[in-house]
Amino acid sequence: MAKKPKILLVDNDVDFIDLNKAVLENGGFEVAVAYAGREVMDKVKFEQPDLIVLDLMMEKHDTGFGVAKALKADPVYRNIPILMLTAVLGETGMDFNQELDGYWMKTDSYANKPLTPEELINKINELFARSKTGE
């Protein structure tokens, strides 16, 4: 496609957003941003991203986890690949195969923080590749 792929970056750390936005844009992506879980649904509707990068540990009452579930439950948005970022996989106790049966798809993935912008781009490309073949 000639159109640049659009990434929605969701993270409460402003530097994470600024840094990765700059690098992603330089790498040929279009970038939209959100700083809190409660902003995401509206942003998704408005921006129509091709992929969402979602930080899972955000605020006490507003974790990315809830947002991810809502997106996957929504028939309109469930096909947008989500890359979930988490600081400590073990701590959050998440096991993408078991716990969220039926929700998580082959087009979704997760990665541990911290990760460099390069690593982020690699993961994004990987996801895009998978969504073209799989599911």
């Binding site: 409460n12 750390d13 402003v14 530097d15 994470f16 600024d18 840094l19 990765n20 700059a22 690098v23 844009e25 330089n26 790498g27 700083y35 809190a36 540990m57 605020e59 006490k60 009452h61 600081a87 400590v88 701590e91 923080k113 911290p114 460099t116 912008p117 390069e118």
Partner: protein, 498 residues
């Protein structure tokens, strides 16, 4: 009893006296003689004799009378009667008065010796029996004392103790065990433990203790959870008990309540998790910016990189602030540490703190309004902590303020408290965030505060300081209008500042 046997011969006939003396000393006995009852009595009073030979027919005090008096003086002495009139009546009479035996005259030396030896044997046996009884009483007393000592010790041990024998019967327990297991059934020795203890995990570890694999030196250790309504965690240690012959006697189990230990550990783990989270974010950002700069991953614009470096520097600075705040925070946790409370006129601290921080407000062109009288009633407080307290409040007032806004500081006494208010015309705190505002690492998030760096510990520290000075703190805030923190500190009674 002396090693040498001592015998007294009482007879008015000199021949008998000397004859007996000769025969008995020949056997190695010590012999004394007396010619009549009275003399004999005096000798018994003066010395202990093992055996006495008494002639029944004597002038003055007769043998029978003498024997009666002797038994009152010494009930242990063996008395053998010598008599010429060997009638049944006299013999019986003599026995009644305490005689052991009687020898009829005449007698041969061998016969005398036979009687004497028999009598001495009896003496030996009864002395021995007496000694053994005394020993036994002594031992029983010691055992009773030991047992009562052990009971006292066991009962006062804070850990629960259960001793169970091979037949799975409860043999020993203490009040702490009852308390920890919160048993409704009474614990009784002799009963089968399966009837007394219902907790399966505890029974299981007790059974394991009985298994042949564990030696005497093995201690089985396990944590067991007692479910609600009890809600306790117990550390159970089980080891084998062997008796003196090396046979398995049973097991002893100690119970320790570690519920609060686990809670503390959990709080600590949570705190550590929060701190590592707080450390990771700024470090990630710094590394990311540096990395992007080094690889030029964000393009060619030098101004962009310049901004990134600036941001990296800010995050680095906030990390240093975090380290300081963590130290301050943990110091406050230790109550006894170096808190030097002294009578303070806090007005001077407030004014100097604001002076120091004013410069931070110049970027936003903030105005500072001070309503703090020079002389305030003295409060009992730690100077350093008061400085920290106001630094944090004023710093927040500046940080979260708007351009050309105001910071108002007011102090006045009211009843027994000093009320100090630090107010700003800043962005305010929304109702949802208000209850969490003093929580560790909590920061309000919103578009206006996106680039504000803070440790999230500032207000946690303020709250701890206020509490340790027996004061209160309250907040008044409106989004878009501003926030006012009011600290109330108790005034030192009976003293006014000059």
């Amino acid at each position: 009893m002396d090693d040498k046997v001592t015998i007294l011969v009482v007879d008015d006939e000199k021949g008998i006296r000397e004859g007996c003396r000769r025969i008995l000393t020949g056997e190695g006995f010590a012999v004394d003689v007396a010619a009549n009852g009275k003399e004999g009595l005096e000798m018994v009073k003066a010395k202990i004799y093992d055996l006495m030979l008494v002639d029944l027919m004597m002038p003055g005090m007769g043998g029978l009378d003498m024997m009666e008096q002797v038994s009152q003086i010494d009930s242990e002495i063996i008395m053998i009667v010598i008599t010429g009139f060997a009638t049944i009546e006299t013999a019986v009479d003599a026995m009644k008065r305490g005689a052991y035996d009687y020898i009829p005259k005449p007698f041969t030396p061998d016969q005398l010796l036979a009687f004497v030896n028999r009598g001495l044997e009896k003496r030996r046996l009864s002395m021995q029996a007496k000694r053994l009884m005394e020993e036994r009483d002594q031992k029983l007393l010691e055992v009773a004392n030991e047992r009562s000592k052990i009971h006292t010790i066991v009962n006062s041990i804070a850990d629960g103790i259960l001793v169970i024998n091979r037949e799975k019967q409860l043999v020993l327990f203490n009040p702490a065990a009852i308390k920890m297991l919160a048993l409704s059934r009474k614990l009784e020795t002799g009963k089968d433990i399966n009837d007394l203890i219902l907790n399966e995990d505890l029974i299981h570890i007790i059974e394991e203790g009985f298994s042949s694999e564990s030696s005497q030196y093995t201690i089985l250790s396990e944590e067991i959870e007692l479910p609600s309504p009890i809600n306790k965690t117990l550390m159970v240690n089980v080891s084998k008990v062997r008796d003196e012959t090396g046979q398995d006697f049973g097991i002893v189990s100690t119970l320790r309540d570690i519920t609060s230990l686990k809670e503390i550990n959990q709080i600590k783990s949570q705190f550590v998790a929060m701190v590592t989270h707080e450390l990771r974010a700024p470090l990630s950002a710094i590394e990311g910016y540096l990395s992007a700069y080094l690889t030029q991953a964000a393009g060619n614009d030098p101004q962009m990189y310049s901004q990134m470096m600036e941001r990296a520097k800010q995050r680095a600075h906030s990390l240093l602030e975090l380290v300081n705040d963590l130290l301050q925070y943990s110091r406050l946790e230790v109550k006894s540490v170096a808190r030097k409370k002294e009578p303070l006129n806090i007005s001077e601290i407030i004014l100097s703190t604001v002076e120091l921080l004013k410069v931070q407000g110049t970027a936003k062109d903030l105005k500072f309004e001070m309503d703090v009288p020079e002389h305030l009633p003295l409060i009992e407080a730690d100077r350093t902590e008061m400085e920290q307290l106001f630094t944090n409040l004023v710093s927040n007032a500046i940080k979260y303020n708007v351009k050309k806004g105001k910071v108002m500081v007011k102090a006045r006494p009211d009843c027994n408290f000093l009320h100090i208010t630090v107010a700003d015309t800043g962005i305010g705190i929304d109702d949802e965030s208000l209850p969490c505002i003093f929580d560790e690492f909590y920061r309000v998030c919103g578009p206006e505060t996106r680039y504000v760096t803070g440790t999230g510990l500032g207000l946690s520290i303020v709250k701890k300081i206020v509490e340790s000075h027996f004061g209160h703190i309250k907040i008044d805030s409106k989004v878009g209008k501003g926030t006012a923190f009011t600290v109330m500190l108790p005034i030192q009674q009976g003293k006014e500042s000059k």
